[in-house]
Assembly symmetry: C2
Homo-oligomer: 206 residues x 2
Amino acid sequence: MVKSHSQPSLSGIPEPHSESMTGIDLPFFHILAPASREAFLQSVQMVRFPRNHFIFQPEQIARHAYFVLKGAIRQFTLADGKEVVTRLVIEGGFSTAFYSFISQKPCFEYCQTLEEVEAISLSRREMERLCAEHIDIANLERKITEQYLIQEQERALSLQFLSAQERYEQLFKQDASILLRFPLGTIASYLGMSQETLSRLRAKNI
Amino acid sequence: MVKSHSQPSLSGIPEPHSESMTGIDLPFFHILAPASREAFLQSVQMVRFPRNHFIFQPEQIARHAYFVLKGAIRQFTLADGKEVVTRLVIEGGFSTAFYSFISQKPCFEYCQTLEEVEAISLSRREMERLCAEHIDIANLERKITEQYLIQEQERALSLQFLSAQERYEQLFKQDASILLRFPLGTIASYLGMSQETLSRLRAKNI
DNA sequence: AAAAACATTTGATGTAGGTCAAAAAGTATG
DNA sequence: CATACTTTTTGACCTACATCAAATGTTTTT
């Protein structure tokens, strides 16, 4: 268990820059009834994390999920001292340690900002309260979870039977913007291959 | 796209043996309010599929999800004529082509019974209706989806960085009963390795 | 119970992609 | 702008696992 990152800030508790949310307009907002929208806004906060900040670390419980408005986050675990990247998040995506956020048990992954991040934060506790009181929020959360289920399923499938080359091409087609935002080693790990292999693939395909 | 299975029955529409559901007690039932429980029972049906029946096939839309009470199901796709097993379901699990069920777009997987199957069937349409009307059902479905999200995430992670040996051991620990219900080739494919490799692993570990 | 069909094992061989090491390119810092 | 640090590339070599093929074992059918 080696930490190989420069100056991690370890708090994990995003207090410093929290701001009012009045007037924010989110992509999934139009689905909600006005009352639900109002309640939702009451429950979330704007947060800002500096570059290279660790939002979560193993052993902590992921009490919040973040909807990223700006910046880039990578999530990873350590396996025999090697980083295994589990998720890459940029604008428009949710970042949290899903297992921990869902079960409220200690997480096993790191969640690190690579750029300054601006996000909307919702705690699991508030999420449960909102879902218990607002049926449209419960269904919105259900739909979002469904989308992530599909995404994880696709990821598993591509790791199961695509070659390194094919996995790279797939990411290139689906999400080329990701390739520009993260260092090569990070993308390689996310794709389940070594850095050297990804570098060679890239050279071959120009 | 080669079909390599004996006598698939292709209907996909489970009419033959549907039965009344009065008095059924499901594991997740106690969470629901009596009214929701009642509505739920009104919406589901008991179905039975014979051995080697294809519940779904590619191009079809998965209009139902099945909660398996008895029997075993394997789901797979064909990639260059080779079967890639995506999901193994026995008693207590849900079987559906998640992508298709969620999006109501054509599915890409086969869903085949290996034994006679007895299941509770819920259509996507009814599910949406129930979730729109009963907040506790919406939250129950959310929780179930969350569990499957975690499961898929674990599967992706193990395919990403565990060796064939380790993946086998993990399945052995977590779900040994699966190993007894499905043929070796099916399990090997599910674990992302060749049949021969799994056979050799098993021989080594006695 | 013999024949056919299917599932598993075992052996020989090939290869995609891993690891290690060093060079080259790019970026940050005093 | 020169030094240090990080990231990416390139090359040589190696290994885990795939593929192919044949033998053995097991279940189903007649």
